[in-house]
Symmetry: C2
């Protein structure tokens, strides 16, 4: 059932330990589900309870610690020996008396790690303030170091197999975008379009199935295009609406996001103009991308391309993406923005999303790309333009079964 060859997991572990050594960390407690998956293969929707992967500098296999009912899932999805899977009893779950981190601290002490230097992911969704305090209380002789993003930075360069997974995710993203776009017309509802998108995302292709994306499809419509993170309602689409569709194809937890803006019927001149500016900006940025440059140079290329039109973008233009779990498909490492001096290297992968949001409208058009030896490879090939849909539902050549 392993997703990658065991040698790939061991290479990832080796690089993690090198980074631990550089930072003076002897024991690393990994609570980010994407990092747990990356190093061990663990894949289950159990991150709503406290759990972790423990990487110990001088031990060959990491240890998984979680809820008792999830131990079987850990045994079946990870590469470690069964005795490396440890669990806490169920009465520790969502209790205001017992806390899993107190139990886990006791286990760490018994393993002889009570006085070591312990790395924790301090700014990560599934490592709560209370989790940290309970660890500190119950490991009074340990010293703690912030290891937020230690593993995330190792994830930033993908292996060839990871790239292949992302190509599959890209194919799924294209199909889902097409299914969504062809459901957007007078008479259908936002939820109908979202349902068509989800069907394609999860079904995948004949050759390979889809996985759930870490963020649901977002579908802000009409005035709400000014608010990028609204999901869908059961309102009907109407002629004249603009609709932003942002989604990601996902294959075995690897993501390829894709965003487009759709106009139902004739778009406003303003929207057409904005679409031209954004497309030109995207092309100028992609032409600049290659190994050896700083990431901030891409922001500079965008700024040069758009400032002549009076466009000033406050928010970042994109971020590293790949393996992930809800609530985010971004890797929380490099961002395409001013000041980011990450040097581009082959097999880095970015979601480049120069969205523009104003008081009463907005536009999104995005691409996910890989840095190659001398430029970029696109993961999707969907028309890079403002999509104009007929307000009337006509049978078309949509790949979506539902339309």
């Amino acid at each position: 059932m392993l997703t990658f060859d065991i040698l790939e997991y061991q290479e990832r572990l080796k690089r993690t330990k090198e980074s631990m050594e550089r930072q003076g960390i002897e024991v690393l407690l990994i609570t980010d589900p994407a990092n747990m998956n990356y190093l061990s293969g663990y894949d289950a929707w159990s991150f709503y309870v406290h759990q972790m992967l423990v990487v110990i500098l001088d031990e060959p296999q990491p240890i998984w610690i979680g809820r008792l009912m999830d131990a079987n899932g850990a045994k079946s999805t990870t590469w470690m020996y069964d005795e490396k899977i440890l669990a806490y009893p169920d009465y520790y779950v969502h209790s205001d008396v017992y806390h899993p981190m107190a139990y886990i601290a006791e286990m760490l002490k018994q393993m002889g790690h009570g006085k070591r230097t312990i790395g924790v992911e301090m700014d990560q969704y599934y490592f709560s303030a209370k989790a940290y305090i309970k660890l500190q209380e119950n490991l009074p002789d340990a010293s703690f170091k912030d290891a937020t993003s230690l593993v995330n930075w190792i994830r930033i360069i993908k292996s060839d197999q990871e790239i292949e997974f992302m190509r599959r995710a890209g194919k799924i993203a294209e199909n889902a975008m097409q299914a969504g776009v062809s459901t957007i017309h007078n008479g259908s509802r936002e939820c109908d379009a979202a349902a068509s998108i989800y069907y394609e995302l999860v079904k995948g292709t004949e050759e390979f199935g889809g996985d759930y994306p870490s963020i649901v499809p977002m579908l802000p419509t009409g005035e709400n295009t000014s608010a990028p993170h609204l999901t869908w309602s059961d309102q009907h689409f109407e002629e004249g609406n603009a609709v932003i569709v942002e989604l990601a194809g996902c294959y075995k937890r690897y993501h390829v996001p894709l965003a487009r803006t759709v106009s139902i019927g004739q778009p406003t001149e303003r929207l057409e103009r904005l679409a031209d500016i954004v497309r030109e900006g995207i092309e100028n940025v992609l032409a600049r991308a290659k190994p050896g440059i700083y990431l901030e140079e891409l922001e500079e290329a965008w700024r040069e391309s758009t400032k002549k039109y009076g466009i000033e973008k406050e928010s970042r233009l994109g971020y590293s993406t790949g393996v992930n779990y809800p609530p985010d498909w971004g890797e929380h490492t490099a961002s395409i923005r001013k000041g980011d001096q990450t040097v581009l290297q082959p097999n880095m992968t970015f979601h480049f999303i120069p969205g523009l949001w104003f008081d009463n409208d907005g536009i999104e058009m995005s691409e996910t790309f890989r840095v190659t030896e001398d430029g970029v490879e696109m993961f999707t090939h969907y028309p890079r333009e403002l999509i104009i849909q007929s307000p009337y539902h006509l049978p078309d050549d949509s790949k979506g079964i539902i339309s």
Copy 2:
């Protein structure tokens, strides 16, 4: 665009402030997205960045603070005045230099709350260890109190409109279960069944659309039925497989979970026997439920019903459910387990899921119910039995469009 009448939000806020007063909290920083939604109406997929709702004991409206690009969404989904929507700049997002909580602390000081008693949700997914430390560092004169679940406990008794939303979610759950079950047969893949389920969950009915559930459909198959939180793969189903389907219908963020176990072709005698035991247990528990009893009495009823068959269940039997966001549809308050002395009251709502997991197999059958004046109301009416599916795909009366 408000989901509930403004008076309902104000009643919720009043009860929150009463609880704050009892606990000596002057300013409550709410970071749980379900609690933010419950008090303000805020609904967007933006919880992957730091954000909060600030409830101040002596001020009539709460304050929303989040990322600049999400402020428009807050203005359009909440009941507060626009000037109650405040934002931090984008360069604070996923940066290792700037932290949003440092900015927010500064805002709180400028509002005059720098020396007050501040409640924070210490054990909540979206309040990280670092978020807490940054608040403490930047509000050195404030004192902090743990307010985990303060608002969750107010959510435990539903209003009539919330119950109506859950009835709609129940209808969606039934349809999705039917769509999933009818896709489970030789030749289809786990991802095909998950896609059919998702389509129904999101489309909803002709009368009302569906919303995304806080947990994806889970579909452990074959030996993996021993591991409840595995999602789906692209493996083909085979005759003789048992498949556990656990899902939730969702309407405007309100959930009704539902689980069943499906056998493709003739089930083993063992599975049939387990299904009988679980069904009998469910019936005995539901017969006992009514206002005035302790929640732990339901666990007692289960134990009495099943111990004669040699069944001993280690994990809890269920939990309060309702409005929620990923990664959980449970409310983190009352659990159906030994020692829980919550007194049942009308309009409490529970997901009762007495799953049994063994070394190599497992079974799930669940019901979501409301406590009425004298017993219970079920939110779904799906056959309470082991579902036996023909291994061969035959056209049937499935409500799912895809089968």
